[in-house]
Symmetry: C2
Subunit: 100 residues, 2 copies
DNA sequence: CCAACATTCAGCCGTTACGCTGAATGTTGA
DNA sequence: TCAACATTCAGCGTAACGGCTGAATGTTGG
C-alpha cells in the first residue's frame, strides 16, 4: 500500500501544481472562496472576459485536480472549493519550513 | 508605487507557480534544500536521467522565478535555494487559511 | 599553451495548453 | 410541448513547453 499511496500522492501534487500554474485558475479559486466557497459555473465565467467555454475547461482542470467539486443543481452546476486539497501545497512547502 | 508593486507581485506569482508546475523543478528544489541549500549545476543534473542540457533550462526557469540564485565559483556554478521566495506561495495560500 | 572539464547557448521537433467557435445536451418555466 | 437558458463537448490554430543534439563559452591543471 505504501507504493500505491506515494504514487497517488505524486500524481496529486502533479495535478494540483499544474492546476495552480494558470493565473485564471488561481483567480477562480480566490473568487469562489471569497464568494462563500460556492459559485455556479456561470457566475465564475462571468468574472472573466474570455469566452465561458474557455472557463469551462479551466473548471475541469480544477475539478480533476480535486481543488473544486461540483454538484448539479437543476440546470446549473455549483462548484465548491475543496480547501483540504489546497493543503497538499502546504504539505509540500512544509518540507522547506518544518523545524528539524 | 502601489500599482507597480501589485503588478510585480502578480508577475512574481506567475513566475513562481509556473516554475513549480513541473515535477523536475520541484525535485530540484527539494534536492538542493536537503543538500544543505546549495548545489552545483552538475550535481543537480546528476540526480536526473535526462540530458543535463535539459536540466540547465529547468534551472534557468527556477532562477528567473527567483527560487534559486546562482553564484559562479571557478568553473562551476553554485545554486542556492531562496526560501524567502517560496513564501510567496505561502502568502497566496494564506488567502484561504487566514483566520478572519 | 592546451586538453579536459563544467556549463550554457541555439535550434529542431513532437506534444500539450489555451484561446476561439459552432454545435450538442439537459433543464426549466410558461 | 417548446423556447430560453446554463453548461459542456468537439475540433481548430497558434504558441509554449520540454525533451533532444551539436556547438560555444569559460576555467582549470599540468
Amino acid at each position: 500500500m505504501h507504493k500505491r499511496d506515494s504514487a497517488a500522492r505524486l500524481d496529486a501534487y502533479e495535478a494540483v501544481f499544474t492546476a495552480l500554474a494558470h493565473a485564471a485558475r488561481r483567480r477562480v479559486l480566490l473568487a469562489v472562496y471569497f464568494n462563500g466557497g460556492m459559485m455556479s459555473a456561470g457566475e465564475i465565467a462571468g468574472t472573466f472576459s474570455h469566452a465561458w467555454q474557455t472557463t469551462t475547461r479551466h473548471l475541469q482542470v480544477l475539478e480533476r485536480a480535486g481543488l473544486l467539486s461540483c454538484e448539479k443543481k437543476g440546470r446549473m452546476r455549483i462548484y465548491r472549493i475543496e480547501k483540504k486539497r489546497l493543503e497538499l501545497v502546504k504539505d509540500w512547502l512544509d518540507h522547506f519550513f518544518r523545524k528539524p
